[in-house]
């Protein structure tokens, strides 16, 4: 769970390929006898992650599992929401862009086996723009021998850096 600088609460519940945000300011009913949980449908927004589902399973039966929800401030930008996508070698990202929230997948194609649980942003050089900052995570699986490389393979640290535009230098 994470709360961004605007007060939006962000959460994914494991097994759902979606991240939800909740804005309490939009709620008409917050307490009282009718406030049993479902009193504020207008406060929720859903950001769905693309990906495969189980054959024959329900629409929500994602084969992947989003792990911890976090907001980043230092690495990729302010109020960037991330969740490690455990079985998909990636992070699912919801980020503000152009006044709207857009989604993004940060995938680590190799070595295979990224199972990221969490991460932290860090600014190494505030004057170096995007090159001076990054988002750090790790291969955090319980069974590192299932990673590419097999037996003896050790966990690894991963650093993500995102250019503001594809041609940014």
């Amino acid at each position: 769970m994470a709360i961004d600088s605007n007060g939006l609460v962000w959460q994914n519940w494991r097994g759902a390929h979606r991240i939800l945000s909740f804005d309490r300011r939009k709620c008409k009913v917050r307490n009282g006898p009718d406030a049993t949980g479902q009193q504020c449908p207008e406060g929720w927004a859903v950001y769905r992650k693309p990906g495969p589902t189980f054959h024959g399973g329900a629409d929500y039966s994602s084969t992947d599992m989003l792990y911890m929800t976090e907001t980043d401030r230092d690495g990729l930008g302010k109020d960037v929401v991330l969740a490690g996508d455990v079985n998909a070698h990636s992070f699912f990202v919801v980020m503000p862009q152009g006044g709207q929230m857009t989604t993004l997948t940060l995938r680590v194609p190799y070595p295979l086996g990224l199972a990221a649980r969490a991460g932290s942003g860090r600014i190494d050089d505030p004057n170096a723009r995007w090159k001076g900052r990054g988002f750090w995570s790790s291969y955090s699986m319980y069974t590192p021998w299932h990673q590419e490389g097999g037996k003896g393979t050790k966990p690894k640290v991963v650093k993500f850096q995102v250019r503001p535009t594809p041609l940014a230098k």
Binding site: F22, R24, T53, Y60, M65, V86, Y142
Partner: protein, 195 residues
């Protein structure tokens, strides 16, 4: 610090035991006179600075704290119990709000006895300082907002919010259920799918 303690003193517990003398613990506890947070003595030695921003230190659980050196390195076995301290709380969550150094936001004590719900995440609202918790487990997709009020826990108020079914159809916690009642789940870290 731990290595120094190994050479100079008796082994100590990583976790503070309720009612245990503070000399025996690696993490020096704050004295609690009665059973409520507002009876806790101010920890001016360590907490006199301004509050930090909430996202960096939202909630610190005892297991996440770095061990501090005991106030005494003398062996103190057997462990003594302090007379007159009621074991009212076994877990402590310290929260600091970016909204200011409000004393009531600094310490939230939770009873573990009788707890029936699992919390998968918690965070402090950076603007108003309220505590948010999220449910975990089968069919538990609740968000709970806790506002402490002027005199917690008597003045605590809680609100519950659940996503509508059209936006969150999943029962929750990593599984999908077929009509044949077979549960399917791809588990963390393993390249396996179990049913």
């Amino acid at each position: 610090m731990l290595l120094e303690d190994v050479r100079d003193g008796a082994p100590c517990d990583v976790m503070i035991q309720v009612g245990e003398d503070s000399l025996d613990s690696c993490v020096a506890p704050v004295a609690i006179l009665r059973c409520h947070p507002h009876h806790q003595l101010p920890n001016l030695r360590h907490d006199r600075g301004p509050a930090r921003t909430a996202p960096s230190v939202a909630v610190v659980l005892p297991r996440d704290q770095l061990p501090m050196r005991s106030r005494s390195t003398k062996p103190t076995t057997p462990k003594r119990r302090r007379v007159g301290v009621r074991p009212c709380s076994t877990r402590t969550a310290t929260a600091r709000s970016a909204s200011g150094p409000s004393p009531r936001n600094r310490s939230i004590r939770r009873r573990t006895t009788g707890s029936s719900s699992d919390v998968t995440g918690d965070a402090i609202h950076p603007i108003v300082g309220s505590l948010w918790c999220s449910g975990i487990g089968a069919r538990d997709t609740k968000l709970v907002r806790i506002e402490l009020g002027a005199n917690p826990p008597q003045t605590c108020k809680a609100e519950v919010y659940v996503p509508p079914p059209d936006k969150m159809p999943l029962p929750g916690f990593g599984g999908a259920w077929r009509s044949t009642a077979t549960g399917w789940s791809g588990r963390t870290g393993a390249a396996l799918i179990g049913s």
